[in-house]
Amino acid sequence: MTTGDRTRDLYAGTVLDDEQRALRDMVARLAAERYAPHARDWDRERRPLDVSERKFLAGLGLLGLTIPTRYGGEGRPLLEALIVLEELAKASPIAAWPVFEACTGPARVIEQFGTDEQKARLLPPVVAGEKTIAVSISEPEAGSAATDMTTSGHVEGDTVVVNGVKRWCSGAGHSEQYLVYLRLGEARGGKAIGAVLVDGDTPGVSFGPQENLMGFRGICSADIFLDDVRVPLANLIVPAGGFSKLFTAFSIERLGNTTMSLAVAQTALDRSARYVIERRQFGHQVADFQLVQGAIADMVIRVESARMLLYAAAREAGTGAPSALAASVAKCAANEAAQFVSGLAIQLHGGYGYSEEYEIERLHRDSHGWALAGGTLNIQKIRIASEYLGMRFDQRR
């Protein structure tokens, strides 16, 4: 019995159409055969996906799913990219990472806000798997308000000179390019903030040591030092003041994050379902205990809630961006579901949940990473209240 299949058909054909289900099944098979067998080793070795594998995914068209056809992509709705993302992430988040970056990450910022010239120049290499673009926003001192950032860009003729230090950049040191958010003028708050695309090998760019994070192993993370880095003005993707409208692009990334969290939750549920059926304790199948049944039911409810919120937000997005409210609601639900379900999975697995061999502990470690990335739960909840109540809050009180 494959419990995963049951869930998938919880709402029969009404939630996904036949084509979407075929796409999902194709990727699920691929992921199970090609990536699942390596997931544990890659995690232990903190090893990012090989470039050859990224090109293999590109060859299947999976890196260009949401990029318009004129730039080499497939121009398909966001929902389809998220379906692919979930199936890859269920096998290995490391294998899913290039799809996350290409279909919901900075490439989408370029696709939404770049000039035609920029799109034509920058997107095809992403679609082809030749380059991955990472995003870099956070800084050591900026706390939770991104608009406090101090990294600066100074225009000199046709060049932007960039200086500063960036922190918590996922993919740092491994990605070829970085969409760096920075301050382009003297105005305070968000008004002077924009973004430039920086090649990782530009002189003046250096990386701190790779962080040994609790979760997200194999997705590189490091500080980025930018020391008089000269970037062509043509790489200015978001001019000063464009930051405020970027929330639409961030909403796309939040649904990518939601999907990665959902994959954690669904996998923890699938493994728990298998475990409680196979395992016996005190003379009974573990699944025979009502406490266990209640736990499985609570897991199902949380996973399906997150999934339906994700699908609704993604459907609304079409080939564009979802509303900020829908994206934040889905992200919170999925982040919390992943923490809850993977935590419960550890308990259900007894000692085995705590052992590396069963991969349950990896899921729980990752669940915390996703809740911190892309705007913490706390920030998301302030945003939800703000959008829902139609009020603006000072996030500092």
Binding site: E211, G351, S355, E356, E361, R365, T376, N378, R396
Partner: protein, 389 residues
């Protein structure tokens, strides 16, 4: 009713604290607790404890103890655990009491003094792949063959087997008896031929647990502790001791003290997330509560009352509390909580974040180990509340 400790008890607490602060190297909380350096520090620190006869202070002087009362011992453990000091040995905690109760005179004389001095290091060989919470389901066999028992089977989740020279083993001597009646307990030499230790890496990335394989390991009959077939009862006594819980609460208090000190110094944390005020207040209440539960459990033991569900209550509450304290710490430090111990950007030179992060991951073991929380709650419901099974 009096919630105060006596003046001499408070003085003893100060003495223990001073000892830890002077004798435990400052690097202790920064290094890998499962690494070689940690083991060196542990051995040296325990030698000093043995010199003061603190390692088994509640044991009679003849066996290497001080004959201390339980409250004095509680103060000792509470203070040591607050500093995460390596002042606890399984041998003293549960192997010794079982030997005292069920061993013969020769065994007591041979085994107990070396536990009190820390010369012998024990590991506990109970859990098996098919016998976790349901310990009595264990299948490892011990078959009498001449003057030896021959042991065959596998144990898991064995703490510190890679440092131990002796093992405290429960195995099945009578396969025909009911599952609680066919077990016996042994002391086994870890270097015995046929015994293999294989490391397990845990969620916090540490090597604290092992799998131990027995392939026809021969254990002399003289090392059978207690009567054959009574093993379940021997280890049940020991498990109840393990459940008093002061170790969790003392560690949780330290962690919370450190988190609060950090939050006091970094005003932006509460400015960015004012809800943490409430969460910290809740944790502070809970640490007080958990401490009172432990004190009361020990107090009951001193009164000579049976510790049954009271100890379970204390264990459930305190082991779950350590998880909540660590979760609060994760929120306070955000992404920094996820950094490795060696990272210079970890708050307090890695000591605090590491303690929180590995604490967070480790605490899952606390709610699973020594009878999971569910089992503890069952004990409370049956023995404490008299509910039908």
């Amino acid at each position: 009713m009096d919630f105060r400790f006596a003046p001499e008890q408070e003085e003893f607490r100060a003495q223990v604290r001073a000892f830890v602060e002077s004798e435990l190297p400052v690097e202790w909380e920064r290094i890998d607790p499962e690494g070689e350096r940690a083991w060196e520090i542990t051995c040296e620190f325990q030698r000093k404890l043995a010199d003061k006869k603190w390692l088994a202070m509640a044991w009679p002087p003849a066996l290497g103890g001080l004959g201390a009362d339980l409250l004095t011992q509680l103060i000792y453990h509470e203070t040591m655990d607050y500093y995460h000091a390596p002042a606890f040995t399984m041998a003293v905690a549960w192997v010794g009491p079982a030997v005292m109760l069920y061993g013969n005179e020769e065994q007591k004389a041979r085994l107990l003094p070396r536990m009190a001095t820390g010369e012998d290091v024990y590991c506990t060989l109970y859990s098996e792949p098919g016998a976790g919470s349901d310990l009595a389901a264990m299948q490892t066999k011990a078959v009498l063959d001449g003057d030896d028992y021959v042991i065959t089977g596998q144990k898991v989740w064995t703490s510190g087997a890679h440092h131990a020279n002796l093992g405290w083993l429960a195995a099945r001597t009578d396969p025909t008896a009911s599952k609680h009646r066919g077990l016996s307990t042994f002391v086994v030499d870890v270097d015995s031929p046929g015994l293999t230790v294989r490391p397990l890496i845990n969620m916090a990335g540490q090597h604290a647990f092992n799998e131990v394989f027995f392939d026809g390991v021969r254990v002399p009959k003289a090392n059978l502790i207690g009567e054959p077939g009574r093993g379940w009862y021997n280890i049940a006594t020991a498990l109840e001791f393990e459940r008093s819980g002061i170790e969790w609460i003392a560690k949780a208090r330290r962690r919370l003290d450190q988190i609060i000190a950090h939050v006091r110094e970094h005003r932006d944390i509460l400015e960015n997330n004012p809800q943490l005020r409430f969460e910290l207040a809740d944790r502070a209440i809970e640490v007080e509560v958990g401490t009172l539960l432990c004190y009361r459990t020990i107090h009951l033991a001193i009164q000579g009352k049976a510790m049954t569900y009271e100890a379970s209550a204390s264990k459930v509450y305190n082991s779950e509390l350590t998880q909540r304290v660590a979760q609060t710490g994760m929120k306070v430090f955000g992404p920094y909580a996820g950094l490795g111990r060696d990272d210079p950007r970890s708050p307090l030179t890695g000591q605090l974040t590491h303690s929180i992060q590995s604490g967070y991951l480790w605490t899952f073991a606390n709610t699973i180990g020594a009878g999971s929380s569910e089992i503890q709650r069952n004990i409370i419901a049956s023995r404490g509340l008299g509910l039908p099974r």
